[in-house]
Amino acid sequence: MQELLDPVVLGQLLIGGLLAGALYALLACGLNLVFGVMRIINIAHADLMLVGAFAAWVLFATLGLNPVVALALVVPAAFLFGYGLQAVLIERVVGRPLLASLLATYGVSILLVNLGLLIFGSDYKSVPVWQGSFVVGEFVIPKPRAAAGAVAVALALGVYFFLERTRLGKAMRAVSEHPHVATICGIDTRRIRMIAFGLAAAMAAAAGAMLSMIYSFSPLTSADFIQKCFAIIIIGGMGNFLGALYGGLLLGVVEAYVGGVLTTQWAEAVAYLLLVLVLLVRPTGLRGAADVR
């Protein structure tokens, strides 16, 4: 216990937590974007992340590409995949009752997980690049974690500025504010939804490619991550982009401290405990709109 009060240990846990949290944040932002724009909870979101992780693994195993370089291929491909998925499947459940969209994305999730198991098996994979660590003062930061954290922050902020500053981004926010008024203003809401889903898939896949450098993963890994994602967007507020950023960082740090004090198995359960706590105390989240309930 004594060593946990040591500022170096505390700082080290904080750095690790923030770097993991940045990745969570990138993942959760996509989920929140989809919920904001079309009021659909995409249960398959973490499976899209694993599509990115396996794509990075395949590119590393065959071409020897570093996952950070592979992003140039993975991200556009994932965008097109998400765009197509929305056009063919998800578009059909937009505006339908909650049960329909929940079960449709659940079906996509089951399909992706088990296709993954058929193709890659259930053995854990990893992409070992960039051995070694940066040493900053008394803190040690493994290189892959630093790179993944930096990429995640850059991408999440990039998408944030896209939403805030560009015309298309503003249209997207308009659709999530009020789809009918957006239509009246001449926004093609169907196209916006497809772009939003493509963007969400691209962010998830980028998170997956970064994840592949840090953790070992199998098609079944998505179950843990979707739970964490839900915890994050509930903590941050559903449909709120910045909320997902804060929630992701918060979860990363809390997990790091719980993992340091107790065991990693408890760290796994922390997301769920936080989720239930927030749901019961303040279901709209830290930054959520009051009307979503």
Binding site: G107, I226, Q227, F230
Partner: protein, 313 residues
């Protein structure tokens, strides 16, 4: 229930009851699993089909019943008491969970339930003193009743679950549950006690998997956290109900029968393929046949299909 439906039900029950006289052990095992899935599908139907509160975590109650049954059998309780207590313990655990989660509407409830099964599995793995953790519990054959007892108990549970849903469906309670599904605010406005109704449905729908879990452990004689809290069980329950017809009495029976037969033909060598196929089936039903197979019959007879119509917001 019409006279014709009653006649069909009686014929099905009679056939199922007579089957062990002629069928091999393999086929009896298949039927036992079919009864199990009928009961589980009806349980999911009771909460999610009737009230529209989508539970992704009902396998947790199955696992709790299975552990309760296994431990009670080990302590020397008779098998029937283990089954009854399995149901009671699952119901008792579900009450506080329901009290907390049913306050949440729509997506929030679904998300809260999604993790329940995972948490239950983590608890079962970590609580080694009670459950022996990951190494699991093996029951000696001397403690267990034979296949025929398991067969008829599971049959009885399937019948009881279906009868319960039929009884609720036609009565005031069922009407109130459907009112909650269609518009909870309006239901409350006209005097439906939504909290009590939802909680009653939730606890009943947890008691069924509890009993089924206890019989399941008598049948397999071995239990570990991943067999008790199998995520695939959730998937199967949901797909079967959706395929047959949500919120109907016969939909889950039909859905369980069809899905089990499909599974039988695609069987064991390809578990991943089988689950992928279930995912695809779920997608197809949700997108193209939201009322399930039952809605086809209903349409032919010019009845209103039981499609869920509540808006998402």
């Amino acid at each position: 229930m019409s006279v014709r439906q009653l006649a069909v039900a009686a014929a099905l029950v009679a056939a199922a009851a007579a089957l062990p006289l002629v069928a091999s052990e393999y086929h009896q095992s298949f039927m036992l699993q079919l009864f199990m899935m009928v009961a589980l599908a009806q349980a999911w139907n009771l909460i999610s089909g009737m009230t529209g509160y989508v539970s992704f975590g009902h396998a947790a109650f199955f696992g709790i019943g299975a552990y309760a049954g296994a431990l009670l059998l080990q302590y020397g309780f008779p098998w029937w008491l283990a089954v009854v207590k399995g149901a009671l313990i699952a119901a008792a655990v579900s009450a506080p969970i329901g009290l907390l989660t049913l306050r949440l509407r729509g997506p929030y409830f679904a998300i809260a339930m999604l993790g329940l099964n995972e948490v239950a599995r983590i608890v079962a793995t970590l609580w080694v003193d009670l459950t022996r953790g990951g190494s699991g519990i093996s029951l000696s054959p001397a403690l267990l009743p034979g296949l025929s007892v398991n067969y008829y108990t599971m049959l009885l549970l399937a019948i009881a679950a279906t009868a319960l849903v039929a009884w609720i469906h036609r009565g005031r309670f069922g009407l109130e549950l459907r009112a909650i599904r269609e518009d909870e605010g309006a239901a409350e406005m006209v005097g439906v006690n939504t909290v009590r109704n939802k909680l009653s449905a939730f606890v009943l729908s947890a008691a069924i998997p509890g009993a089924v879990g206890a019989v399941f452990v008598m049948y397999t004689s071995y239990l570990n956290p991943s067999s008790a809290f199998a995520a695939s069980l959730n998937i199967q329950m949901i797909v079967m109900v959706m395929f047959g017809g949500t919120g109907t009495v016969w939909g889950p029976v039909l859905g369980a029968g069809i899905v089990m037969l499909v599974r039988e033909f695609l069987w064991a060598q390809f578990p991943a393929l089988h689950l992928a196929l279930l995912g695809a089936m779920l997608l197809v039903v949700v997108l193209f046949l939201p009322g399930g197979v039952m809605s086809v019959f209903a349409r032919r007879k010019r009845m209103r299909p039981e499609v869920i119509t509540r808006e998402s917001r």
